[in-house]
Symmetry: C2
DNA sequence: TGCACTACTTAACGCTGTTAAGTATCTTGA
DNA sequence: TCAAGATACTTAACAGCGTTAAGTAGTGCA
């Protein structure tokens, strides 16, 4: 059906590029091995010469998405090197923007069923965690200058991530009441997330309103 | 294969009960029409006499789950009728406990792919929203006595929900670093969520730590 | 020239959701 | 009492899925 690819890695890239295209166009749910093969101009079984199975293909797409997110994070880090508070807020915005701009990537990266992640290789997992490390670094930097709570940075970073992930996944899945203004929802999420990690004197309840 | 059910609604219940059983045992991913039929002792096509399609079956399970969650919420409401702050915290705990105790239900209810929710009937959607209304009511009651921020209760309730949903979905999907203590993560999530909605004087940053 | 290897193919298995058509059984009306 | 029709279920089939086994060209080398 097709002339042979010039090297071992070529066809793998062809499939990956086609998969990314199909993913963005139709979502991961309708990305099938047969459709992918058709789109790339090869037989379905040839995919298995370059990927162990469909999950491995997804894992490669996840990795791509993680790199994209990390690139966005790195830009923020560079822009706010000396301002941990501003950096953290910008990171929150970058995370949410990434999710809303690339919902298909976000779904594969963070909303894929656990079952498909069981064989996710440890090295990819470690690479993916670098994104969380960027959040943790901002928290640590902010804690060093007294802006953020210094306790358990890993837990704090995960909690922050969870809040952002909750917001993004509800938005992507269109679970929110249509009467909710998305912009207000996002701003409130970010404000609350930041308030959560900010170091505060023991909570003092204002009496009125 | 089977004697006919005594009434129209009977077999529907048989399928629903079997579906709930399979859902809890194997998760929604491996719940197929054929397996369900086999478990119930009927042919696969007979399911279509009682449910329009597989999504409609899921929708019925979602509704069941929503009622369960609401029952838990109602208990909390009754126990903390005069204590909005305590109620909201208890609701957060109830939500997370529900998710972790019934991950299969939680997945169908809140983590099902949007595609499967497209035909979700409006009346079921309204019923499901009663759960969010319980959160909103606690926020409103708390705002009335000055404990919570009074602005935009719907947005506030959704933000709170998003934070809880993020935590539960990451826990269920086992996305958290294994080094993270789940208990600490949950407590931090709840604490931050509550701090987010609490009415405060403009944030005062403590200088040290 | 011929052998081995590589890169790809077709055919097939067992699964999926869903529809069309067929078959018993029960209910009703004359 | 018997036929007609409705009801509740069945089997057969379609098109799709992920995946494996077996087959086939083309390449590089002895």
């Amino acid at each position: 059906m097709q002339p042979r690819a010039s090297s071992d890695t070529d066809l793998r890239r062809v499939f990956l590029d086609a998969a990314r295209h199909l993913l963005v166009r139709d979502g991961y749910k309708s990305l099938s091995m047969r459709k992918l093969a058709r789109a790339a101009g090869y037989s379905a079984t040839s995919i298995y010469l370059h990927f162990e199975n469909k999950d491995a293909l997804f894992h490669a797409l996840i990795e791509e998405g993680m790199e994209r997110l990390l690139a966005a994070f790195r830009e923020v880090e560079a822009a706010y090197a000396d301002d941990p508070e501003g950096r953290l807020e910008a990171l929150c915005r970058a995370y949410i923007r990434f999710g809303l701009d690339s919902p298909e990537y976000y779904e594969v990266m963070f909303m894929l069923h656990p079952e498909h992640m069981e064989r996710y290789p440890a090295d990819k997992f470690r690479r993916a965690r670098r994104n969380l490390d960027v959040l943790a670094a901002a928290l640590a930097d902010g804690a060093a200058c007294g802006a953020f709570c210094a306790a358990e940075p890993r837990v704090l970073a995960s909690t922050l991530w969870a809040a952002l992930h909750g917001a993004v996944s509800l938005l992507i899945a269109r679970r929110l009441d249509v009467r909710i203004d998305a912009e207000a929802f996002i701003e409130t999420t970010i404000a609350h997330a930041l308030r959560g990690v900010r170091s505060v004197a023991p909570a003092r309840t204002a009496p009125g309103v």
